[in-house]
């Protein structure tokens, strides 16, 4: 089977079975790319995950593009990414249709009402884990002074203040923190 077809079927499965977001997809990708098809070594795969986590965008899309590009150039990148989103896209369209059809029914409202507080909690968990990565040098909750990153802590509070007080947009805050933080690191 040509590499490009192998890649397409691999990422089709990754997209179909990675329920629960980014990190759930990593073992699936590893299994397909390293074990089933032998397209990458385990060291190359570890590099891939580091890069996919460091760069913006969903991890599975990042890995799909990266793997496709390394193994089969631009067509590979496109095929892998499309393979990865084909099933989720179809399933979500169907769910969207039913959600907007039935969401005003009282029973559906009651069930959705119980889901919303959970989503708030899940978002705050994500926020806490990225804050942990941002402000602790060893990337774990440990308030020893040597383990704290002063620049990041300062940036976090300034950004939060700007968001609460002046309602600045998300993109401005993130790009701004990147520019200011990098300049501070270069000066210090």
């Amino acid at each position: 089977m040509p590499v490009i077809l192998k890649l397409f079927f691999s990422f089709l499965q990754v997209g179909m079975f990675s329920v629960g977001g980014g990190y759930a997809a990593i073992p699936l990708i590893q299994n397909q790319i390293v074990n089933v098809w032998g397209l990458m070594t385990i060291e190359e795969f570890a590099d891939l995950i580091t890069i996919a986590e460091m760069t913006p965008g969903p991890i599975s899309i990042n890995s799909a593009t990266f793997v496709g590009m390394r193994l089969a150039g631009i067509p590979g990148a496109v095929i892998c990414t499309l393979g990865c989103i084909l099933m989720p896209f179809t399933i979500c369209l169907i769910l969207a249709y039913y959600y907007y059809k039935y969401r005003n029914f009282s029973g559906v409202q009651t069930v959705l009402g119980c889901l919303r507080p959970a989503v708030v909690s899940l978002i705050s968990c994500a926020g806490l884990s990225i804050l942990t990565l941002a402000v602790f040098k060893n990337e774990q909750v440990d308030f020893h002074p040597d383990n704290l990153k002063a620049i990041e802590i300062g940036l976090f509070f300034i950004c939060l203040f700007l968001l609460r007080k002046f309602k600045l947009g998300a993109i401005k805050i993130i790009l701004g923190s990147g520019v200011v933080g990098t300049l501070l690191y270069l000066i210090v």
Binding site: M16, F17, V19, G21, G22, A25, I51, E53, P56, G57, P58, I59, S60, T65, M69, R70, A77, C84, I85, M87, F89, C92, L93, L95, A96, Y97, Y99, R103, T110, V111, L112, G113, C114, L115, R116, A118, V119, S121, L122, I123, S124, A126, G127, I130, L131, A134, E152, L155, F156, C159, L163, K167, A170, I171, I174, L175, S177, G178, G181, Y185
Partner: protein
Amino acid sequence: MNQKGTLNMKLLRQLFCSMFALSACTFGGGFVIVSLMKKKVVEERRWLEEDEMLDITAIAQSAPGPIPVNASVLLGFRLHGIIGSLVAVAGTILPPMILLSLIAVFYDQFRSNPVITTALTVMRAGVAAVIFDVVINLAKNVLATRRILYVVLMVVTFIMGYFLDISAMLIILLCLAAGIICVILEKVSPSDRREQ
């Protein structure tokens, strides 16, 4: 929304640009991009109600595939049907596709460039601030419902997610079960909760 058969190009362009910018600036995927999406779509653009955004998040989390892509499909569908979904997903996947293609080619230079690696790690502080801002607003609104059930669910699911490391999928399923039990209880004793 829009009339059938006509394309609202302005809306589609705004949708594409919003998703493109969000996706280009979001690290860590999943709930990170969803909280930025909430800020952009609910607070800045006012395309959706807050409850609707939370529902979309729950659905995006429960369906297979990357959460940001799933959420874009739902948002796009709401704003402009299937075309909207295609446009929103294109906006979401293009930035990582372009970026990762470049990185795959210039792999060695990228990993050893100190400015790039610093910028990427320092930006996390800004991302965390945006999520906290969103969480404060969301949590306030859950408290404002004055429904003990919702507040308890929020606290319990937070403990499950943060301290017990229970997967997001399982938490959503448990709340789904709690919701279904509520519906059954309402059917059994309809006089109890008439305020809604």
